[in-house]
Amino acid sequence: MAAPWASLRLVAPMWNGRIRGIHRLGGAVAPEGNQKKKRTILQLLTNYFYDVEALRDYLLQREMYKVHEKNRSFTWLEKQHGPYGAGAFFILKQGGAVKFRDKEWIRPDKYGHFSQEFWNFCVVPVEAVDASDCDINYEGLDNLLLLKELQSLSLQRCSHVDDWCLSRLYPLADSLQELSLAGCPRVSERGLACLHHLRNLRRLDISDLPAVSNPGLTQILVEEMLPNCEVVGVDWAEGLKSGPEEQPQDTASPVPA
């Protein structure tokens, strides 16, 4: 069970110069041997000195606080520009892309800047959201759920989306038709069980979910649960072990006497 969470290590990567954002919370680039040695020295120091332990604890709490900061509710924006504007701004700020009805996709560029024109037409409902690789968590869904007429939602590779978040998606049941959860490390079959509220779902992508214990069986059960939906991503034969290879009959060789 530690495998999907192995990246949630602590302070060692912070000292490797600039942090590459909270996406790589622990993804150090140092070579393996060096990493291991660094980790044990740090662990040794942590075990012997309360101060080191307290410092590491504080730094961990600060990392978590940063994620919370990113997911705060934009209630003032909602009052000013309506729910669609606030929701769209939240997604764009996180680094995702937004598509209003009858308009083009709005994406932030690599510096995180995005065009501010959408404030003009934010009475138009948002149709599709691509929140891949964003840091949306349970509290951030407050902003996402403002988009009442959302039809397509992509939460691919979101590292903070877990089973609790999936249980919050039921208000979008009337409109949501497409949902993608590919590559989310914290989503398990227990979270997929609460997608049964989404009666209008037509396409569900559940490929590459490392926390699901039995992907083939889960796919079958999810297909039973959502009869009108096309469930994509897992081959039903995954997880089946192939039997012992049968030796091909070699008719040319002479039969031993």
């Binding site: 969470w5 609790w164 609460c194 999810v222």
Partner: protein
Amino acid sequence: MIRRVLPHGLGRGLLTRKPGTRRGGFSLDWDGKVSEIKKKIKSILPGRSCDLLQDTSHLPPEHSDVVIVGGGVLGLSVAYWLKKLESRRGAIRVLVVERDHTYSQASTGLSVGGICQQFSLPENIQLSLFSASFLRNINEYLAVVDAPPLDLRFSPSGYLLLASEKDAAAMESNVKVQRQVGAKISLMSPDQLRNKFPWINTEGVALASYGMEDEGWFDPWCLLQGLRRKVQSLGVLFCQGEVTRFVSSSQRMLTTDDKAVVLKRIHKVHVKMDCSLEYQPVECAIVVNAAGAWSAQIAALAGIGEGPPGTLQGTKLPVEPRKRYVYVWHCPQGPGLETPLVADTSGAYFRREGLGSNYLGGRSPTEQEEPDPANLEVDHDFFQDKVWPHLALRIPAFETLKVQSAWASYYDYNTFDQNGVVGPHPLVANMYFATGFSGHGLQQAPGVGRAVAEMILKGRFQTIDLSPFLFTRFYLGEKIQENNII
């Protein structure tokens, strides 16, 4: 050269016993001697207790500010919040005394692990809501440096409570209270129920309430181990032993009506070690009774309930162990992945377990059918006669099922009104209770732990007001009845 010869010579000395050396000589147990010397040196170094004469490392400390009797989820939750809310680091010394470190009979490990907000009392709903947010953010609350994160295996599938005609009005008013406090519950008519869950037989059901968020079930053992790990890293001491005696002093005082009242204060707790007569008197300021099903024994040790019945002195702690059975069965055609924890009108409940069409459930027996709580033996006939008929009636697919296993566990049942006892005792001034939750202790543990810690440190409840749950209600006769007990 000499170095090579010496051990060689010694080795030969070990093997060959010269006739003169046995009498009065010592057999050179080199390794044993070295380890003993190492131990002695380590005990002299700073940071270790110096016990050169007697090894007392297995005994609890002689002084502790708070002694928590009972190391289950409630006791550990109180310890955690005491350490979280203390004014500066290391201000309070806490000792948790647990009789059985394997938790073989503890209600926590044997629990079904459900959490729901569908209660009738606002305090219960608030406690469950807080516990849900605690569990959701458990890796922030219980993060320990260098330890792997906790996987609670929480299934957010919700609770589905079914009500017959006569209970429908009560259910509606309950749901109104729940929504006011902030829980997300939806009410469903029999038609909507059939639409959503076609495997239910809605005969006799007038109304159903379905929890949409923050309800489900999780792994209680993981919560217990996570709390234990965090609490140990915060500096709480653990001791495996049994509390056998409280040494207390009493003071006779007069009330304003000139009635004599005896106020007691516990000074020492005698903790007896496992399988021996050795005990350690622990001097303490506050004792927290979180002993679960055995809380009444601890309360009796402190002298609670010794007096003429009908007086405050004579009011015993009305918590007793009640045995409950949980059965696991396999039903291949049973309800699918979306199944919530269904609680029937008859009191029978079940939920899914895992991906393989396994279910577990049970039913609370009526007062007349209560099994004997002397041991944890399972009565399989109870399933045949009292649980299966109701389940098969409600879910026709359960007419064919095969029981795989079963277990029994204790509820710390409050015979007065089935709700918890929280807070200090009016006469024994330094004993605090955190027990008697009658089957929903696990789901309310984080909230209750925080409330007791606030009571101890600040003197009053700050976040959730649990004053209706104080001990004095047993004397005053004020029942706070909870209607939705599963």
